[in-house]
Amino acid sequence: MNAIQNRHDFVLFFDVENGNPNGDPDAGNMPRVDPETGYGIVTDVCLKRKVRNFVDLNPPKVQESDGAAYHIYVKEKAILNQQHDLAYKALSLDPAKDKIKAGDVDLARTWMCKNFYDVRTFGAVMSTGTNCGQVRGPVQIAFAKSCHPVVPREVSITRMAVTTEKEADAQKGDNRTMGNKFIIPYALYRVHGFVSAPLAQRTGFSQKDLNLFWDALCNLFEHDRSASRGEMAARKLFVFTHAEALGNAPAHTLFERISVQRAGDASQPPREFTDYTITVDRQNMPAGVSLEEKL
């Protein structure tokens, strides 16, 4: 399968309404906030998890000519409804007792890239004891940051049941428990990412893989509904494509072309996507760089 030939830099906007986009384990699952600025954060691994889940749920049809499969190596149990054979379980628990030859690692690496979409996209670490079986993926995602400071709200909720009989006895049959969840009333997040063509050549990340990745970003939250997430949606995806594999312009100068302003009454807190205007400076684009709005 032919690897992509062009470098890409991308900007994704997504928003949340009355939900928790990414809980902070250090803060009782409160939405992540930069404590110094009050801006909301969504981590790279959170977004990569959703890309994996999307591909696992929507694997493309594999044709003979592809030469690559779309399995996902790092899975989340919650969405897994495939059978996985017991043989695998036994194998994975087996400690690597045998010496592995250096050539075997290369074979294994190639096989993993060919079979697993997430390995050839994001990379993976394979241990051999000497720890040299690393795959660096072509796709690199940074932290997402909200476009304004966010104020998470703690919402108390009641449940009209209790878990244990002991609790029921203590409440004399009242059987109520209080819980809480965190929400961000509204926030628009912006995230930057990079696709390296030279690294794609090493893992065999193809144009079909890239199209699937853009598809995953555009539909990132369509299959990730839950009580905690509220309403999340990918809003805009801007992709800068460079004519050359190494690129034709510095990434930061391209990202600066996309800016976000408040629309409407800026004295009021933003509550919906229309409270923002995203503007794109298409003037004097660097030679060899094209900009495409995928969403």
Binding site: P25, F116, Q140, A142, F143
Partner: protein, 220 residues
């Protein structure tokens, strides 16, 4: 010796200290090896070896804490081989191998770096320093990278720009810009079983000078 100068900046950075890598804690200044990685992301060939000469710290050192759900295990090559041979499925389940790990990372960093490269014994007859210097400066000017450079970890992208002139560090007169940073990782000795090398790092007027790899200041 052919020197280069460049500006390196980004929103976050994590130059993990060796002793504190379970729950990562960043050092306050990039290590020479992290800077070397950034230079190599722009241009590198086996014919050249990058050496960092100085790191100028242009913003106050600020830390922030991030805890993430991370995967505990690595992929066992042995089970890959078993599946390659016998078939079956291969996967790892994040929920059963989850580690919540905190990272104390740097926020909002900007550095100016002075570095040079030397030709290695793998340089061929057609290799001249001028050629690689041209390649590097051309790529830097055009914003070309082999892969996106990063500030310690790949989720913290680094942006780079040419720097003709290096301004004085705003930390030059503060205690923060004039302090002993203790023993810092210099680089790994790849010819010697990945052995770590250390040096005594100091900030003077906001600048960390880096000794040459063969100097007695670098301990192996």
């Amino acid at each position: 010796m052919y020197g280069v100068r460049l500006k390196i900046f980004g929103d976050y950075a994590c130059f993990t200290r060796q002793a504190l890598k379970g729950e990562r804690m960043s050092g306050s200044i990039p290590t020479p090896s992290a800077v070397r990685g950034i230079l190599e992301a722009i241009a590198w060939k086996p014919a050249i070896a990058w050496q960092v000469d100085a790191v100028h710290v242009m913003k106050p050192v600020r830390f922030t804490n991030i805890r993430r759900n991370e995967l505990g295990g690595k992929i066992p090559v042995r089970s890959i081989h078993d599946v390659m041979k016998k078939g079956g499925s291969l996967a790892t389940f994040i929920e059963s191998d989850r580690q919540q790990r905190a990272s104390l990372v740097l926020a909002d960093v900007e550095y100016y770096v002075e570095a040079h490269f030397v030709l290695t014994d793998r340089a061929g007859p057609g290799d001249s320093p001028g050629k690689y210097l041209d390649i590097f400066t051309r790529r830097l000017r055009k914003g070309q990278v082999y892969h996106r450079p990063y500030l310690g970890c790949r989720e913290f992208p680094a942006f780079v720009a040419p720097a003709e002139h290096i301004p004085a560090s705003p930390l030059a007169d503060s205690p923060e810009g004039n302090r002993d940073l203790g023993w810092m990782l210099y680089d790994l000795d790849y010819r010697n079983g990945y052995a770590p090398m250390f040096f005594r790092a100091k900030l003077e007027k906001g600048v960390m000078r880096v000794p040459a790899p063969d100097s007695p200041e670098v301990r192996r």
